[in-house]
Symmetry: C2
Subunit: 290 residues, 2 copies
């Protein structure tokens, strides 16, 4: 399997619900007017707690967000992209290989994990034993050199990973979809409405021309997803293994999941019809932790 | 000819170019998400000097603009709407009848003048001798009663009205067009781009369901207009007769004009092919003032 390490450094920032108004000017430009900005990657996730934005440095500085979003709420990282249909086993493999804090978010045909920039050489070393690594340099995809830097972490055999954070599942349903960038203008007012004026939960990810495969697929099945939120208190950026705790039992039960990290919490989207078995499986792991 | 006095009190406010970012959240809601707001009238005019917004009190307070836009840059007024194709002679008639400060702005099939609320009874008395006046009360159009209040101003016979403010005409051309509100979403990203991210000069007017005739027409001829700006220093809100000074010579020369007042200056749009004769006609009046 191939992993692509992209050349853009990303910022993760949290914007309070009440603070979104002063960021609207920059966020609308990033989300809807790609041709006016040099930003190559932008993601916005709205939860009841906050807005999480993930944006490359060009976008962060260029649109004045660096001046508005308080500096203490930022984290930097590099982006690793996996071009595959996301399956629980792939998530699991990546989770257990990385004994460092990672930031996971899925889009339709790719999924991405974000690691701290200083952890990147170590991550590459750890992953190189099982994955083919590529690096994007000045827009060209080249084979990535393994620098042999390790944190001494050895891939564990099946060790128990009890779930240590409380879980909750809201009653609402989620729809995961995707659209061609050319179609974006026709739904712009609708998206602006859900982004800034309606409350609720929404995830917007624009990756513009960042990925070689820019043909996106739209779900025709119209399936709905339910969410499991991981964490009672904000999780922070230092803890390892949270993704693995959730993805292992789901992989064992053969349940697909979309994993979305935000600034404060992690979220797993699972197919609506699986929610009861997901809760059963995860509750067993939670009990094991006590 | 009929004049309709609408029931909404309007605010005129000026937003500095650098200040537009913090107003984007409210302005986008007013311009593109009419169903989310109780605002019935919204107009935005961008010039090189500033943004002028004209909005009813619901929109001004509801979208938080009353907190953002400095109070000293606001003026209140009532709206009089004339349902007719705007012609120079109509502009002239209205201009010379009103010896008070008015705020003129045109849209495609109607034109509107805004007068201070305290001047309204006097304006109605003055206009009632030549126009049929209607008033909109709780959404119903009813005959307006003339309260017999006058400022003692008598319609002048042909008195000279020399132009006392300096004129300038930028080299750019203008397009005047109109679209059905249902079409708005399809051009939203384009309009947001010219409104907030491109500089230049743009006038956006949304009157939602305020006017009984909500069928708008689009120019098929694609004719272009040039602009004459009136004023070297900001004109203020107290001076009378500025519209008449400009509209009289244009009416005499039978040249149609779109008249647009902004917070700082007045602007007349005239057909591109007439610009030389307009400048000649107005220069004669300017010379007369010296």
């Amino acid at each position: 399997m191939e992993l692509h390490i992209l050349e853009h450094s990303l910022k993760v920032a949290s914007i309070e619900k009440e603070g979104i108004e002063i960021c609207t000017h920059g966020l609308i430009k990033l989300a809807f007017l790609a041709s006016k900005t040099r930003c190559k990657f932008f993601s916005l996730t709205e939860t009841p707690e906050d807005y999480t934005i993930i944006v490359d440095e060009e976008g962060f500085k260029g649109e004045g967000l660096s001046l508005i979003v308080p500096a203490c709420f930022q984290a930097s990282g590099a982006l690793i992209s996996v071009f595959t249909c996301a399956t629980p086993s792939v998530t699991l493999e990546l989770s257990v290989y990385l004994n460092i804090s990672v930031f996971f978010f899925f889009s339709w045909v790719i999924f991405r994990l974000q690691v701290r920039e200083r952890d990147l050489p170590m991550v590459m070393h750890t992953l190189s034993s099982e994955f083919t690594l590529f690096r994007v340099v000045n827009g060209e995809t080249v084979a990535a050199h393994n620098l042999g830097i390790t944190n001494g972490f050895v891939k564990p055999k099946l060790v128990p990973r009890p779930i240590i954070h409380p879980l909750s599942s809201p009653s609402n349903m989620f729809c995961v979809t995707s659209l061609d960038p050319d179609t974006l203008p026709s739904v712009a007012t609708l998206l602006m409405d859900v982004m800034f004026y309606s409350g609720g939960i929404v995830v917007i990810q624009s990756h513009f021309r960042l990925f070689p495969n820019n043909v996106l697929f739209t779900s025709a099945s119209g399936e709905l997803w339910k969410m499991v939120r991981i964490g009672g208190q904000p999780l922070g950026f230092d803890e390892c293994g949270i993704v693995a705790q959730i993805s292992e039992p789901l992989a064992t039960a053969d349940i697909p999941a979309y994993y979305i990290s935000t600034f404060k919490f992690d979220h797993a989207l699972v197919p609506e019809e699986n929610i009861q078995s997901v809760i059963r499986a995860l509750r067993t792991e939670s009990t094991a932790a006590q």
